[in-house]
Symmetry: C2
Subunit: 209 residues, 2 copies
Amino acid sequence: MIKLYNYELSGNCYKLRLFMNIIGLQYETVAVDFYPGREHKSAAFLAINPWGQLPVLEDGQCRLRDAQAILVYLASAYDPQSNWFPADPQTRAQVCAWLAVADDITRTASAARLHDALGYELDVESARRDARVIFRLIDDHLAETEMEGGLWLAAEWPTIADIACFPYIALSQEGGISRDDFPAIRRWIDRVRHLNGFIGMPGIFAPHV
Amino acid sequence: MIKLYNYELSGNCYKLRLFMNIIGLQYETVAVDFYPGREHKSAAFLAINPWGQLPVLEDGQCRLRDAQAILVYLASAYDPQSNWFPADPQTRAQVCAWLAVADDITRTASAARLHDALGYELDVESARRDARVIFRLIDDHLAETEMEGGLWLAAEWPTIADIACFPYIALSQEGGISRDDFPAIRRWIDRVRHLNGFIGMPGIFAPHV
C-alpha cells in the first residue's frame, strides 16, 4: 500500500492526503514528529530523504520527495484520464507554472505560519508582505479567469495546480495574513472545499454540504 | 515562429535557448532590458507577464511564463519521444522534484550572482551559504548515481531536470561560489556541456569538441 511520511499540521502533507482522498486512493501514514521533535532532521529520516523535508511518499520500490512532484506522480499514475495533470502540453505547462507558485506560497505564507504557530525565528513581516504580493497576483488572475467564465487556476477544470496552491492560502490567517482584500481567492477557496472527496485539516474545515 | 522574451545574461533565459538548440527548434528573441533598464517591471512587460519575470515564451496564441514550466512545454510539445520530460510517472515525478530544486538554485546561487555582478542589495553570505547546502546535496546525489552507473540527475538519460539545474550551477563562480568541493558536480557539468547541440553563454563556454 502507498505509504505517506506525514505530519498532520503540514499543509504540504495535507495536500497529498486531500488529493488521494479526492481520487479515491488508499494509503497509510507514517507519523514524523516535525514539531517539537524535528524528526525530519534526524539521521533516520535523512536516510529516507536527504533534503530533510516532508512529505515523502513510497509506492512499492518507488520513493518520492517534494509535494508538487508527488502530486504529478499520483495524477499521472492513478488518474490520468481526469487530466488533474493535463496531457495537452500548453495546459500542462500552465499547471507547472502554478506548481512553482505553490512553492512561493510555502516560502512566504507558510513561513509566516511557522513563525506564529511554532515560534520559528524569521522575518515574519517580510514573509507576510511577500505573501500578499503573491496573493494579489493570484486574486487578479482568478478575477480575470472568472470574467472569462473560468473557475480554476490553470485550466477549465480543477487540476493539481489548485490542490498544490490551496493549503497555505487557506491557512494564511494562522500566519497573520488576512484574506479580506482577496475576494476572488475567497470564492476559489470555497470551490476547492466543495470538490467531491474534499477533506479538511486543523485550520481548514470541510463544508457542511 | 516561437518567440522568446530574452535577456542574454539570464540563466533562466539561457536554459530555454540551450534546450531549443539541443532539440533543434527555431525561435526568435525579443530583447528585454533586465539591467540596467528594469524593463521586466515596466507596464508594457507586466501586461505580458504580471509576475514581472523573464523568460516568457509565445508559441502562436499560447503564452507561457516560468522557465521550468516552459521546458515542460517544449519537451512535451516538440520532442516527446526523447523523454526529456518522461512519460513514466515515477521518472516524471523525479524530474519534477529536480525542477523545484532548479528554483532553489535560482534563489541562492543566482541571487549571489545578481549581488556580485549587478549590485543587487541582498544578504550575499546567506545566499552563498544556502547555495552550498544545495550543491552538497546535489554533489552527493550525483556521486551516488555515478556509483550505480548513472550520469544524470533524474533518469538514466538526460532530462529537462539537467537543463533546468545547469545554468546557475555553472555560473556559480560569478556569485563567489567555488565548485572546488563538488567534484561530482564538475563531472556532471562537463557531461552537460558535451550534449549534442550545446551552446554557451557569457560565463559558460561551449567545449572544444
